[in-house]
Symmetry: C2
Subunit: 326 residues, 2 copies
């Protein structure tokens, strides 16, 4: 849950004069997002998000994120679109922070994803990868393989307080991934955080993708691997093959996974599991005692990592490669 | 900021089938209210609040709060109105908690109240007192004079860590108030928490009163005293006589303050200051170290209490009684 920057009504009303979105009717701080302060605005023209970018987001990255959202929205992806000021700007300043007004998308995120949700997500992810191809800006993925060792080093001294032997286990996994991580796979703009809470639905229909604040340039198949981990495990930690097949099949119908990508997928899924495991560990070990913010459970991703270590081949996901390749 | 109870989309959609408010489009947890979990819903019929009542609110009090909001709304007070189910109920159950759907009011609360805001609040408070007169339910004020000593006893051992001598100061004040608190003044339903964040405006026009979860039966003038403390001090802790005159004058035009009420007002304002001082102290001393929730500053109310101790007569607020009485 975010630490909120409060905004005075008169300052906000002044800020909105730069935009052509009507008069302010109300604004409410939203208990979502840990990186930014978000407000849901009602104006005489409709609903909008106001995002104030806090310190954890590098101000230099904002033009990439906002530019990407605008680019994708004009290339057939339903995602929030930054609203431009009368002067054509998407980024302003409010309450001493960088600030943007962004379209509000209706929809609810699935707390219990179904096979239908997984298929819709796979399709949307592939379309996002295709739509991002001609986006001219780039942003390196600070949380890919080269970013993991610093996180590991930070967590290592206290990791075993969570689970005996975890430090050695993670150290060995990190060595393995650093040695075997592919250096050449189809790449482009990826979402990098397409968890269920970032995919909105109205009934079974996907109504939008949100939260592009981890988007970057990296392997497309790594984005797929993140989704496999985020969408295809059940609450009891079992891997649901039907969901994986639906997600991968729908992805592949929009953008065919090459043989190299299919071969790499199990390794990428190990890496994707380690990446979220490490950031959750660092958050977990740094949360103040007694804080009301409940950090996400790192051990969930230990279980996912162990599962992915047992996969040799994409067929082990229960997916016949011949059936996958369109 | 509230600790949120998360609600699954399908459970919420099921819950909404009891109501005639259209289909769910989105719901966002709101970073407001410390007692309850609040969601802002968009449906095909408009915007609504969903409130899940957490443990701090006694379930037995909910019919009073919801009944009062319904009563006031049908008696000319603009306030959120509970939406009834098709079966006529205002209170349901969701995510294992009592839950209600409530009208969403547009408006923004004034971070920097002006004299105009103070006058509008005084007028609205008087109208609320009048509109509540024939409300048939009652609820004792657990946070009036008899409720203060238990709070004081809870805070006393650590109070002096905040300010040297504070414990003796508060103990003497409590003795004084217990001895001199009036037992007979015009009474009825009061809001009991009408701070600026509970009064919504669209421009200079008051658009609604919200948050009735401290409402109870007590002296009307005590409610006025709470507002004097909440609205008429400047950020530098000075008392703004122009604002007090505007608030009291506007109140008095709607509901005349009797001579007994005017005489009691300075004492009631001391009591109102002590009441918020004590609850803030208890919250402050019990907040976990490092928590992201910043407790409200108790010392703000020490300053207000010291100011009110210097007032002998309503004239000392800068208000001529003859001018006040209509």
């Amino acid at each position: 849950m975010a630490v909120y920057t409060d905004v005075a009504a008169d300052e906000l009303a002044d800020f909105l004069k730069n935009y052509d979105i009507g008069e302010l009717l109300s604004y409410k701080g939203i208990a979502e997002g840990v990186e930014n302060s978000n407000y849901l605005l009602h104006t005489t023209a409709g609903s909008f998000f106001l995002t104030l970018y806090e310190k954890r987001v590098a101000a230099g990255d904002l033009p990439f994120f906002l530019g990407l959202m605008g680019h994708l929205a004009t290339h057939g992806i339903v995602c929030p679109q930054p609203v431009r000021t009368r002067g054509g700007e998407t980024l302003g300043r409010l309450a001493e922070r960088p600030a943007a007004i962004i379209d509000f998308l209706e929809g609810v995120w699935p707390r219990k994803p179904t096979v239908t949700h997984c298929a819709a997500t796979g399709e949307a992810l592939a379309k996002l990868h295709l739509a991002g191809r001609d986006f001219p800006m780039t942003r390196a993925n600070a949380l890919s393989v080269r970013g993991w060792r610093p996180l590991f080093d930070q967590a290592a001294p206290r990791v075993d307080t969570l689970q005996h032997g975890l430090c050695d286990f993670l150290g060995a996994e990190l060595d393995h991934l650093e040695r075997h991580w592919p250096d050449k796979l189809p790449a482009g703009v990826i979402h990098a955080d397409l968890f269920p809470d970032n995919v909105l639905f109205l009934g079974d229909r996907l109504s939008g993708l949100i939260d592009f604040y981890f988007a970057c340039n990296d392997f497309f198949a790594y984005d797929v691997a993140i989704c496999l981990n985020a969408w295809c495990f059940e609450p009891d930690h079992s891997f649901n093959v039907t969901k994986a097949r639906a997600l991968l099949g729908a992805y592949n119908r929009e953008r065919v996974l090459s043989e190299a990508e299919q071969t790499a997928l199990p390794l990428l899924a190990r890496g994707a599991a380690l990446r979220f495991l490490l950031t959750r560990l660092v958050d977990y070990l740094n949360v103040p005692a007694g804080a009301l913010v409940k950090p996400k459970d790192p051990l969930e991703y230990v279980r996912k990592l162990r599962f992915q270590q047992g996969i040799d081949n994409i067929r082990d996901y229960g997916i016949a490669v011949s059936g996958l390749v369109a």
